[in-house]
């Protein structure tokens, strides 16, 4: 296997496939991150400023506040699932192809 010093980082970074991967990943990651932050902070904000809404009973004694708090768990798990699904199916495969080619070209240079 190649040594770290032999890798042409600049070449990989300038590879259009790497740049496309980078763009796609950045958008996706920050999108999920911002969504999760906003959704999370709705809970303390709602509990403080929208108490009348949180108190509405929807299922026996279960009120909107409890449903919303439970939904935080479901959303967190859902985001984790979406991310890992996408990473396994798309990001890993594309990164592996770039790495394979980079290693091949290094082998050729030696």
């Amino acid at each position: 296997m190649a040594e770290l010093s032999q890798v042409n980082w600049k070449a990989i970074d300038e590879d259009p496939r790497f740049q496309a991967l980078h763009r796609k990943k950045t958008m996706f990651l920050w999108g999920l991150m911002v969504f999760s932050m906003v959704y999370y902070f709705l809970l303390p904000i709602g509990a403080a400023y929208f108490q009348d809404l949180f108190k509405i009973k929807v299922w026996g004694p279960v009120n909107v506040g409890i449903v919303f708090a439970l939904s935080e768990f479901v959303v967190a798990w859902g985001l984790a699932w979406i991310y890992s699904h996408r990473a396994n199916a798309v990001f890993d495969v594309e990164a592996a192809a770039i790495v394979r080619d980079a290693e091949k070209s290094m082998g050729g240079r030696k």
């Binding site: 970074d13 790497f18 999760s36 509990a47 949180f54 768990f73 798990w77 396994n88």
Partner: protein, 634 residues
């Protein structure tokens, strides 16, 4: 270190245990105490055996710090859960729910959401770039010595705060549960933890964390089954029973005070499921939430866990598992807390521990048949032993993180400039472990009786304001460099600590004395009135009632006078303030943006071409994981 030496250690430790700690009264009745020791002994024996096996495998620094990257994603997921679910979160949150209902449950959410940040931006890049410590990531394209110094100091600061809270909390917990003296509890926790880390390094620490997480989850599932089965696993039916309980309604009434006068029993019960019983300052909640969701990703002992897996895919898988376990556990906690509120009752929970920490263990005792039953005390013993294992496992992870910063960053990286033999590396790691362990025990004993609850919040504040901005920006911002890291670490750490020092968390003698004086003055007026009532009381019943009121009044006056004497010559807080200068208990809202700003300003002022030139390499590596295994083997 050989496994034979470990056998000698284990032998000495058991002698120490037999030598017999002194007992006081705990939650476990005296005649059932042997039961607790059997369960404790079994769990300690199991973890010791694992350490014995691990000790044979620990030969290099990489074995010691990160189990040579040989932990699987699933194993690491359980270990993260074991590392993260500290006694504060597992006993504390169940307790908050049992006393305050909805607000306690709401509090648990942030601890799970924190892992979204870890998953999306921290886990995989760190696996691809790092080796043993947080500073390894920072040192990648920056001046290694400078960033290692600030990174190590911040790691040691965060770990020490968290460690102190765990040691003090652990000592109090063991004392409350089984009545062992506080000092002895702290020493036993410290020595056990040292045994695991010193002999078994990360391999043993990982397994201790896994064992503890499995025990904790099993115990919780079992308890929830018992509590929920009578209601046919229906959430509304269970909650209807909870809010229909007179003990729950009485607790709500006592929390609301005068406001509850015109409420019906049904309204009082329903109020338990609504927000606002515990948290009165929403901004403080948001500030704490920020520290949680960003700070977890900057916790050195959590970051370190991602160096123990072989690839970024395993790091990802371990966060997914950790989120499933941690989230599932907090959902169970809702039932534990509510079940304790209904079956044990707030009065009984607070009688053992005012903060509610004993809700879970007392629920276990109730499920088994109550304080007088053998089964009840067996269950209590089991939960107590899990709590004990929890402290040891969390402390072991923290000590390993602090010791790696001391040995790998400061000694090997800065003092010896990386010129060390493999043998010396392992030796340095073990010596650092002993130093940190001894420090943990000393601080634990010195801090006896101190209120250390806010230290956990402080640890998260520093991690989110210093570590997180530095790690995030060095990974994702091309222009980030040594200047930014150094300034960010210093500003983030100092603002977080500084704001806490001037916050309402500290003790303000002037305010305490003023309110104590008020109590004394008010009593001077009401006491003669009550005494007149006593003389005029028509029958024995009324007399007893007034006598009781006088008793309560005398008690509060005595308490107030004690406060006045304690702070007689003292008017200002630790930093010389008469009242809080900063209104929030959690500094995150201000200190996190300041930390980010400091990294950005520092980077722009310092300018470093090398850091920018190395960006390609860092960015390609963190995204592709190219040659990551190679780097880990260095």
């Amino acid at each position: 270190m050989s496994s034979r030496r470990f056998a000698v250690f284990a032998g000495l430790l058991s002698l120490f245990a037999i030598a017999g700690p002194a007992f006081a009264q705990g939650a476990v009745p005296d005649r059932f105490r042997w039961l607790t020791f059997v369960v404790f002994g079994a769990i300690i024996a199991l973890t010791m055996y694992v350490t014995y096996l691990a000790a044979k495998r620990v030969k290099t620094a990489s074995d010691f710090y990160v189990a040579s990257g040989g932990v699987s994603g699933l194993q690491n997921g359980w270990a993260i859960a074991g590392d993260y679910l500290s006694a504060a979160s597992f006993l504390g949150i169940a307790g908050l729910i049992s006393l305050y209902g909805y607000d306690g449950f709401m509090y648990s959410v942030g601890w799970l959401v924190a892992y979204i940040t870890v998953l999306l931006v921290i886990a995989e890049p760190c696996r691809n770039i790092g080796k043993y410590t947080l500073s390894d990531i920072l040192a990648y394209r920056n001046d290694p010595k400078k960033v290692r110094i600030v990174g190590a100091l911040s790691t040691i600061t965060v770990s020490t705060f968290y460690l102190t809270a765990q040691m003090v909390g652990g000592g109090v917990l063991v004392k409350t549960l089984i009545g062992i003296d506080y000092e002895i509890s702290v020493i036993v926790v410290g020595v056990l933890m040292l045994g695991y880390v010193l002999f078994g390094g990360m391999v043993a620490t990982t397994w201790v964390q896994i064992i503890k997480a499995v025990l904790l989850v099993c115990a919780s599932i079992l308890l929830v089954m018992f509590v929920w089965t009578p209601y046919g696993f229906s959430l509304p039916a269970f909650l209807t029973a909870v809010i229909g309980d007179a003990k729950v309604q009485a607790q709500v009434a006592s929390l609301l005070g005068d406001a509850s006068k015109n409420m019906t029993a049904a309204e009082l019960g329903q109020r338990f499921l609504e927000p606002g019983l515990l948290f009165k300052a929403p901004i403080d909640q948001i500030s704490l939430g920020m520290a949680l969701v960003l700070g977890t990703a900057g916790m050195p002992h959590i970051l370190m866990r991602f160096f123990t897996v072989p690839t970024a895919q395993d790091a990802r898988k371990s966060v997914i598992w950790a989120m499933a376990i941690i989230g599932g556990f907090y959902v169970l906690t809702l039932f534990l807390g509510m079940g304790a509120a209904m079956n044990v009752g707030a009065v009984n929970i607070k009688a053992v521990d005012a903060g509610g920490n004993m809700a879970g263990p007392l629920l276990a005792q109730w499920v088994g048949g109550g304080p007088e039953s053998m089964l009840g005390n067996l269950f209590l013993a089991f939960v107590a032993a899990v709590a004990f294992a929890t402290i040891v496992a969390v402390v072991a992870g923290l000590v390993l993180a602090a010791a790696s910063a001391m040995a790998h960053d400061l000694w090997v990286g800065v003092i010896r400039s990386e010129h060390v033999t493999p043998q010396e590396q392992v030796k340095a790691a073990r010596i650092a472990t002993v130093i940190v362990g001894a420090m943990a025990i000393t601080i634990g004993i010195a801090a006896k009786g101190q209120n250390v609850a806010h230290l956990v919040a402080l640890a998260f504040a520093v991690a989110s304001s210093a570590n997180f901005p530095c790690v995030l920006l060095t990974l994702f911002w091309k222009k980030c460099n040594t200047g930014g890291i150094v300034l960010g670490m210093i500003v983030g750490t100092l603002t977080a600590i500084g704001l806490v020092l001037v916050s309402p968390n500290m003790t303000y003698p002037a305010a305490l004395k003023a309110s104590a004086q008020k109590v004394v003055d008010a009593a001077a007026v009401t006491k003669p009135k009550l005494e007149a009532d006593l003389a005029a009381a028509p029958d024995d019943e009324a007399k007893a009632k007034v006598a009781k009121a006088i008793g309560t009044l005398d008690k509060s006056v005595a308490g107030a006078q004690a406060t006045l004497t304690t702070y007689k010559d003292d008017n200002t807080s630790l930093v010389g303030l008469t009242k809080p200068w900063f209104e929030l208990r959690n500094p995150g809202l201000y200190s996190i943006p300041l930390g980010f700003l400091a990294v950005i300003i520092g980077s722009l002022l310092y300018r470093d071409k090398r850091a920018e030139d190395m960006w390609d390499e860092l960015y390609v590596r963190q995204n592709t994981g190219i040659l990551a295994t190679k780097a880990a083997a260095h």
